[in-house]
Symmetry: C2
Subunit: 191 residues, 2 copies
DNA sequence: ACCTGAACACCGTTCAAGT
DNA sequence: ACCTGAACACCGTTCAAGT
């Protein structure tokens, strides 16, 4: 029955998923948990800290890539990278404002996001020069998060027209795939 | 003396530049302009609409690319693209939270941002397939805005240590340049 | 046409005091 | 240790009423 940090984060994820970031206030959270606002601050230092945990939980559902790949030739590592990036993209897509939340978390506490570590591991197995692993990771992350944000904002702008939403979604999903392939093509074979 | 939409936007840009997005409230703006909050809503429909204008003004300082390039060979178009992207990056860098503001504006009303049109024009002169101009534009925009956001958030996280700030700034600026070249390399020569 | 005054329904964060 | 109650200093938006 007692309030824990875990239940606070859980509830935050639920409110974000159902109502979006604008409705994810500390007071709304308190109401949802049947406590006073002040109670939350015993379990969480600030709203920003809470949002990092929320981002981590959103990405936690994404399956880890195996530590040691059986085939670590360029082609199969590339395939794993594609799968991972698409998985992150698809995981964030249905969660409103998830792009903002993850972008913030990745910038302030990247070590809290396991999916970022997975990305880095795969890029290390790829033919990326060691000095550029960080650059390549953030490049891919910006691509994913940027397209998620673009799609979510576009859907809001379009309104309720279902057909228009599907068109926009398909266009941006396709653009994302194209950009992803371009980037993977270019980061491996640097002089 | 009378309040105009222009002076409202100007003041908003100034407050954003000096104090950041958190301090850019309608009430703060009203105080700064010596009017009541309600007065702002005669000139501006909402805060979000105002922020689109702010983004447009931030990008307006960037020089337009000439409509008709003398040399439209791939190499010189590429050089123009590099220059334009770097110019946008450097223009946004000193303005706190400009990445958020521009990302929002680009997603909701891209036609309001002249720099986006310039980008599109240049990409049309590049060897990008017509169907992918939009994808390439948003790819470059995500790269720019993503790196600006990363840099600005990282600087906040680092705190006041000047030496550390310089190190982080240099690393991300360098990563940005690397990513930019990778993308330009890959978007032109699609099968 | 343009602005004031005042209200409505909210925020994040802190902290003495209770249990 | 964990939570309540209440306060502090704010938000964006609306709108009758004034000039």
């Amino acid at each position: 029955m007692a309030l824990t940090r875990d239940t606070v984060v859980d509830t935050a994820v639920r409110v974000l998923t159902q109502y979006g970031l604008a409705d994810l206030s500390m007071r709304r959270l308190a109401r949802e948990l049947d406590v006073q606002v002040g109670a939350l601050y015993w379990h969480v230092a600030s709203k920003q800290e809470l949002l990092v945990d929320v981002a981590a939980r959103l990405l936690a559902q994404i399956p880890d890539t195996p530590q040691h790949l059986e085939n670590d030739d360029a082609a199969s590592v590339r395939a794993h990278l594609l799968t991972l990036c698409r998985a992150i993209f698809e995981a964030l897509l249905p969660i409103p404002d998830s792009a903002d939340v993850v972008q913030w978390a990745a910038a302030t506490r990247p070590e809290a996001l396991r999916a970022v570590a997975s990305l880095q591991d795969l890029l290390t197995s790829f033919e990326v020069e060691p000095a550029r692993i960080g650059a390549a990771t953030s490049l891919l992350l910006h691509l994913i998060v940027g397209n998620v944000a673009e799609l979510q904002n576009a859907v809001i702008a379009v309104g309720e027209e279902q057909l228009e939403i599907r068109r926009v979604t398909e266009r941006i999903r396709d653009n994302f795939g194209w950009g992803l392939e371009r980037i993977l093509d270019s980061i491996a074979r640097t002089p």
